[in-house]
Symmetry: C2
Subunit: 229 residues, 2 copies
DNA sequence: AGAAATTTAGACACTCTTGTCTAATTCGTC
DNA sequence: GACGAATTAGACAAGAGTGTCTAAATTTCT
């Protein structure tokens, strides 16, 4: 625990713990109560800190809110890119691998705490903070969707899929994987593992009926072996 | 989209006109500001009515909110069922007819004022009024989805489609038709006609790649002609 | 026109929330 | 143990919003 602590710049450890606790609690409360419905006392109580500490850390309610959204966007993006990196570029069993990928995407990025909170905050307050959520749009969907599309393009190029427009296919893949979870999402619920698996399975099957090829494996794997570097 | 809610300058005349104006304005404001963020004065001003009149009509803020949600649910359901009744049971051009149906669904039920407001209110306040939104769930998706599924089942039975589980297919149809509108919906925007058409076209094409049959038309239309009353 | 009902503006008490301030206390470090 | 920074509880003023009340004005019905 001994880094060279210059007392002005680097705050002590308890400080950071409290900061994190505030972020956690604020996300929870803003998400549950909406910005207007949330109050600082509630957040303070849930974070286990005094109200004044929140003002010390973040200045005011609005700055706190902005910090939360930025934080969530960042963490969600990290999760999405981490998950994208597990995309099955050289699938052994295309259906099974895509289903597993879809499940990972859902569990790690969409159904988890951060994903749920960010989604709710965007839906609830998006219109009130245009520039903040424009930023999310650029950093989030604007970057992740093309990344997924690129993976599908590669899979198509390797002969596993028959796709004309990878961007469209990527969006449809996600839409299909979530098709059966929409109502639950709407009401703020968290689908069970079973529901996620079901939806992903049905979604991927339909996706492959639309974009799959008969027997791509043998030929295609040569291609992808060359292409992948 | 003719809601003649002229603001403060021209107050609506008559008891019923005022009631309607209040409902309109309250939907607008609750949707824009969330329940906690909305205030009665704002609604009164937007409705062109005095604050007291709102209290006379609805008792308190919460009762007003509940009335709004009930009203929106009812109107949306009516719209959805009306649109479902235009489902192409005996399509001339399956792709074109399904695209047109998807566009109607979007424009009349999902992108229109009521659809947008109801969606937003459910997302924003769903967790706070479990019984109210459980009611929506039963009356809304609980009734409309099976109705759409039944139409797809009929279409499959008539030989136009190759569907195992009509319920799954129906949900996937809707998910595909909206696949490219998700981000816009998230931020509370209204997609342009062009975007709706694009998304529907791509969605239906993929849907038909998955569930379509080669050349069902000739044979199938006999079937459906016999089956149809 | 007259009576009944509705609507209106404004004032009002009450509650809740924000953000500040202060003085006491705790925490981490030396 | 001592020092300084961070945290705490509590009080506080200022502002906003709810829901009630009243008396006057307006509309609607007869």
């Amino acid at each position: 625990m001994k880094h060279d602590v210059s007392p002005d710049t680097i705050p002590p450890r308890g400080h950071e713990a409290k900061r994190a606790s505030i972020m956690d609690a604020a996300g929870e409360v803003f998400c549950r109560e909406s910005f207007a419905g949330a109050n600082i006392d509630m957040i303070a109580a849930e974070a286990g800190v005094s109200r004044q500490t929140i003002y010390n850390h973040h200045g005011d309610k609005e700055k706190l809110f902005v910090a939360i959204v930025r934080d969530l966007t960042e963490r969600c993006n990290a999760g999405i890119f981490a998950t994208i990196s597990t995309f099955p570029d050289q699938p052994k069993n295309l259906e099974a691998d895509l289903i597993a990928f879809a499940v990972r995407m859902n569990r790690n990025c969409i159904c988890n705490r951060d994903g749920k909170f960010l989604r709710k905050l965007i839906q609830t307050e998006g219109e009130r903070y245009p520039e903040l959520f424009a930023e999310w749009r650029e950093q989030g969907p604007g970057r992740t969707w093309p990344a997924i599309a690129a993976r599908f393009a590669r899979l198509a190029h390797a002969g596993f899929l028959d796709i004309e427009d990878p961007d469209v296919a990527a969006r449809q893949f996600l839409a299909l994987a979530n098709a059966e979870l929409q109502t639950t999402f709407m009401l703020g619920g968290t689908p069970t593992n079973d529901e996620v698996l079901q939806s992903a399975t049905h979604g991927v099957r339909t996706f492959l009926r639309a974009f799959g090829k008969g027997q791509p494996a043998a030929d295609a794997q040569k291609h992808s072996a060359l292409a992948g570097g």
